[in-house]
């Protein structure tokens, strides 16, 4: 593991001015809820957060994109099924699939949108217990080579909040086998599967490793006093990982 970029404090200027040069876009759809939280997480990692609107037609020269959680369009249809058609989404899909391999992170509803947009395989259905569940969740890092996970140790356990109604990850057996074989299962639930997800999968990446989606919320575990158990900041690694990728060429 290469050296982790230093983390900027809440009220301090970024320690490394190169970090602030990294522009990370956060997309807001109608019904997005965790956009301000994702923006805060980007800022705490030292990078510059750029607000993106779903109806925008350009990516505003961002170096990476986060699609945050929420209930875009109310999730009245399949979660993410409408948002994938937003004008900005086609730009994001193109950029993610291009040679430049734009790093894209989908959290919760963002993960659902990425599967609907076919950047990631599989889909999410209602939790097996049929209830919304909010709890502090332990995840095992199963891949530390992607653009969003390279700051973690392989096999490391991290605790981040989980909160959703439609969090049960499903895919056909062939797809699941392929994900496992290619090392694309990024995170697995530890200490009890909270929603019936196949093979305890909490998050996955695409083949190139620039696109990652997961149901739990790393952006809610970035600041002491406001994360799991009031002290947890395990989620910061996502945001330092992408800075490693952007600045260190990892």
């Amino acid at each position: 593991m290469s050296e982790t970029p230093l983390i900027g404090g809440l009220t301090q200027a970024p320690i490394d001015s190169r970090l602030a040069g990294a522009r990370i876009g956060v997309v807001t759809f109608p019904g997005t809820l965790d956009d301000r939280d994702a923006i805060r997480a980007v800022r705490l990692s030292g990078a510059t957060a750029v607000e993106l609107w779903h109806g925008d037609s350009e990516l505003a020269a961002v170096d990476a994109v986060i699609i945050p959680g929420g209930f875009s369009y109310g999730d009245y249809l399949r979660a993410g099924a409408i948002s994938r058609f937003a004008p900005l989404m086609s730009k994001i899909v193109d950029a993610a699939n291009s040679d430049a391999k734009l790093p894209v992170l989908g959290i919760c509803n963002g993960f659902q949108i990425l599967t609907e947009a076919h950047l990631l395989p599989g889909s999410m259905i209602k939790n097996d217990h049929l209830k919304f569940l909010c709890r502090d969740q332990v995840l095992r890092v199963e891949n530390n080579t992607s653009a969003w996970t390279n700051a973690y140790d392989l096999g490391q356990d991290i605790t981040v909040p989980l909160k959703n109604q439609d969090g049960q990850y499903i895919a056909d057996e062939k797809t699941l086998d392929a994900l496992e074989a290619e090392g694309r299962v990024a995170f697995r639930y530890v200490g009890g599967n909270p929603n019936g997800s196949r093979r305890d999968i909490a998050g996955i990446s695409n083949a190139a490793g620039n696109v990652v989606g997961l149901m739990p919320h790393p952006e809610h575990a970035v600041e002491e006093g406001y994360g799991p158990g009031h002290t947890g900041t395990d989620g910061l690694g996502f945001f330092t990982s992408v800075l490693n990728t952007l600045l260190g060429g990892k």
């Binding site: 019904g31 809820l33 939280d37 209930f71 109310g74 209830k131 919304f132 709890r135 909160k163 006093g225």
Partner: protein
């Protein structure tokens, strides 16, 4: 004439003037004979159908507070200048506003949605959240959190699961979709609420001072616009019919009178309104809740400086068959009405278009002082808006202390038949503690709170099960607020005056326990029928008690809600005044959590314990309700609050937990389970000091008490502070992180795993 107008025989004002003898369904709409006569007198003619619809909903108990108004005045009268100094907006607006300093203001309010939540628990509870959140938006604030005080019937009654599942899923489904963290509330099971659960909802919002908005329509020529969801047939007559009747199995289902919520529409409405406020694009704004357009037009016009004229056929409809009266009464959710200057019309429309929110321009502010509503150009309403919105009937309902009150208060738990099995041996006491923390009212509420998002927004510094919810307001300075809601229906049943004060005392104590300085109060007064003199006495006593106590504690009531007719058949609920207290932190980083963490810290008990088992959870578990509730000592509460706040500010304590329902036994177990950290506790010395037996020390609910954990390095300073204030304090134990047990020395040791299993097993056992 257009197609839409031909469908009805429109009852115009002109028609009403020449047909005085037309029969009108005023009784079906919930008006009494004398009230209908008043309407005729005010208008000088019979009302049109549309006017009748407006008066009937606006003069309902729910909208007019006609039975409670005479008593509620005390909240405004018993206020000193000192109490007013931080109040930016007081009672009467959609919600009160309190100054937080640094240019920040906070607004909060608690409301009931009891009746709809019994008829249709999911939608009833969901729209309860939706309605209170719109009240907060319409003050110009960004909503930042919600809370939900809940009361259900007996935990093992078959209908309780229906209401519980529906209400909790509704609160979660709506609140989670809005991106509002749910930071606390209450959960009580009691068969007295079997046919009438209490679903109260609190919302809190923050704003800069310059963003405060009020509900008034001023400035002749300004445009009136309705925006948000379309108007449909849901909730018609909800305010007048539902809120004033008890439920009877023999009548047809009232389901159609319950509104249906669309949280996505509300989330978009929130963001859209905040963008309007940011651009200063609205002059006045009002949410549409109970009584829909009737309420919004009459209140905006009544609060304004002129009149208002609107065209009702311009309202966008979900159901084109609605009559003018139905459109005026519809309680369709997720709608707002605003007043916009002609210059801002284009900018307003641009914001609507960005968020894809539908809107329609209904009319404008006039200088006539009248509220005129037209249907395709014909006048169907021509009223003085004050007579609709503010000058409704006021009743001085008879009230008297119930005949049975003396006998009830004489029936003490101590020595009663229910007290025959009082635990005494070590083994019995341990079993009693386990039974207590597994009991319906004292068990873990995780089954509920795990269905609520407490993280969204990233500013939740504390949430349930901590004593108060804590939200950061300003990320730069750490400025924040704490909120707690409390009520004890059993205490208030035994003694309404002191019971209401005890609710305030506990909420105040919970806020102070977190380290925040209490600043303001909002209340939701849930009572039975005001036409019952016993209930009316309970209500008047509770209001008198609460307003007196606010004076002593120096914190004003800034708003609230009264919910009457809460009863099953002829049996009223326990009087349940739910009190919310809001406190302030200069820096939320110094908040005090409720559980132990650090090994070796000393545990202190603040306050003294008396025999206060009447009305307690223990007595409740043994089926006894009688005697007098714990004594209220507001000066003692204030002193305790100052100690907790100063100790938090000066870093003398690392945890604090108030003692209330379940007494010391519940507080010790909750402090241990919070962060899975045990303790060794010795009770003999303090029991001897207070002259009570160990059982009473553990289970009594004497007020003005808290337990705190103090780092060794701070013990001298902490003791000195308590001594200087002459506040009773006793060192009762030490935190033992390795032990993973609660060890009551000389009595018993309870493993934390065993306690946790008992505490957390109850709700899943009943509700899956």
């Amino acid at each position: 004439m257009s197609e839409s107008t031909k469908k009805f025989n429109i009852d115009t004002v002109a028609n009403a003037a020449v047909t005085p003898d037309v029969e009108l369904p005023w009784a079906e709409l919930g008006l009494k004979q004398n009230e209908f006569d008043d309407v005729v007198k005010v208008l000088g003619r019979r009302p049109t159908g549309a006017e009748l619809a407006m008066y009937s909903v606006m003069w309902s108990e729910h909208c007019s507070y006609k039975s409670s108004k005479n008593h509620l005045r005390q909240f405004g009268d018993k206020v000193t200048e000192e109490m007013k100094k931080d109040m930016l907006v007081g009672i009467g607006e959609n919600a009160g506003v309190t100054n937080l300093g640094d240019g920040w203001a906070v607004t909060f309010k608690i409301e009931s949605h009891n009746s709809p939540s019994f008829v249709e628990p999911y939608q009833g509870a969901a729209t309860g959240i939706g309605g209170i959140v719109r009240d907060i938006i319409s003050m110009g604030a960004r909503p930042v959190a919600v809370m939900d005080p809940l009361r259900f019937g007996a935990i093992d009654h078959p209908d309780t699961a229906r209401v519980m599942h529906g209400a909790v899923a509704g609160i979660g489904g709506y609140g989670n979709s809005l991106g509002l963290p749910n930071i606390g509330g209450e959960m009580v099971f009691d068969s007295i609420y079997q046919g009438n659960p209490l679903v109260n909802a609190l919302a809190v919002g923050v704003m800069r001072h310059e963003d405060i908005r009020l509900a008034n329509a001023s400035g002749k020529g300004n445009k009136v616009v309705l925006f948000g969801a379309r108007t449909g047939g849901d909730g018609i007559g909800g305010a007048s019919v539902l809120a004033s009747e008890s439920f009877d199995d023999t009548k047809p289902s009232k389901r159609p009178a319950v509104q249906v919520g669309d949280p996505f529409a509300e989330k978009v409405l929130i963001e859209c309104c905040l963008e309007l406020f940011k651009g200063s694009l609205v002059e006045g704004i009002q949410d549409l809740g109970a009584a829909g357009i009737s309420c919004a037009t009459s209140e905006l016009a009544s609060n304004g400086d002129g009149g208002m004229e609107v065209e009702l056929t311009s309202v966008l409809l979900r159901d084109p068959t609605l009559t003018p009266g139905e459109i005026l009464m519809s309680e369709s959710q997720e709608r707002m009405m605003a007043v916009v200057t002609p210059e801002n019309v284009a900018a307003f429309e641009a914001v609507m278009d960005k968020w894809a929110v539908e809107y329609s321009w209904l009319g404008e502010v006039t200088g006539t002082g009248r509220l005129i509503i037209k249907w395709a150009g014909e006048v169907i309403v021509d009223v003085d808006p004050r007579t609709v919105a503010h000058d409704g009937p006021v009743y001085d309902r008879p009230y008297a202390r119930p005949e049975w009150q003396d006998a009830l208060q004489a029936d003490k738990f101590n020595g009663s038949a229910a007290d025959a099995t009082r635990p005494a041996t070590a083994e019995e006491l341990k079993a009693a503690v386990v039974e207590l923390i597994a009991s319906p009212n004292m068990c873990s509420k995780d089954w509920i709170t795990n269905q609520y998002d407490r993280y969204v927004g990233g500013n939740t510094a504390q949430a349930f099960p901590d004593d108060a919810g804590v939200i950061r307001v300003d990320e730069e300075t750490g400025l924040g607020v704490a909120l707690a809601t409390d009520a004890n229906g059993r205490y208030t049943f035994l003694d309404p005056y002191h019971g209401a004060q005890l609710a305030l005392a506990e909420a105040y104590r919970n806020v102070a326990t977190s380290g925040a300085i209490p600043m303001a109060v909002s209340d939701c007064l849930n009572f039975g029928s005001p036409e019952d003199p016993d209930v009316m006495w309970q209500l008047s006593e509770a209001i008198r008690g609460l307003s007196d106590a606010c004076m002593v504690l120096g914190i004003p009531v800034t708003g609230g809600n009264v919910s009457l007719y809460n009863q099953t058949g002829s049996t009223p609920i326990h009087p349940t005044p739910v009190v919310a207290v809001l406190g302030k932190f200069d820096d939320v980083a110094r908040r005090t959590p409720s559980g132990w963490k650090e090994d070796g810290q000393a545990i202190y008990l603040l306050g003294t314990t008396a025999d206060d088992l009447d009305g307690s959870e223990w007595a409740n578990m043994r089926g006894h309700l009688g005697g007098l509730p714990p004594a209220v000592d507001l000066e003692r509460e204030r002193e305790l609050g100052e100690i907790l706040i100063n100790a938090s500010r000066d870093g003398m304590i690392d945890s604090a937990h108030d003692l209330s329902e379940g007494g010391l036994a519940a507080a010790l177990v909750e402090s241990a389970l919070r962060f899975n950290t045990g303790a060794r506790v010795a009770l003999d010395e303090v029991a001897a000091r207070d002259g009570v037996d160990t059982f009473t020390l553990l289970f009594s609910e004497t007020q003005g008490r808290a337990i705190v954990s103090v780092p060794r390095s701070e013990e001298v300073r902490f003791n000195d502070m308590c001594t200087a204030r002459q506040f009773p304090v006793s060192r009762i134990g030490v935190v033992d992180a390795a032990g993973k047990a609660l060890d009551i020395q000389g009595l018993f040791t309870a493993e934390l795993d065993e306690l946790r299993e008992a505490h957390e097993g109850t709700l899943p056992k009943y509700f899956g």
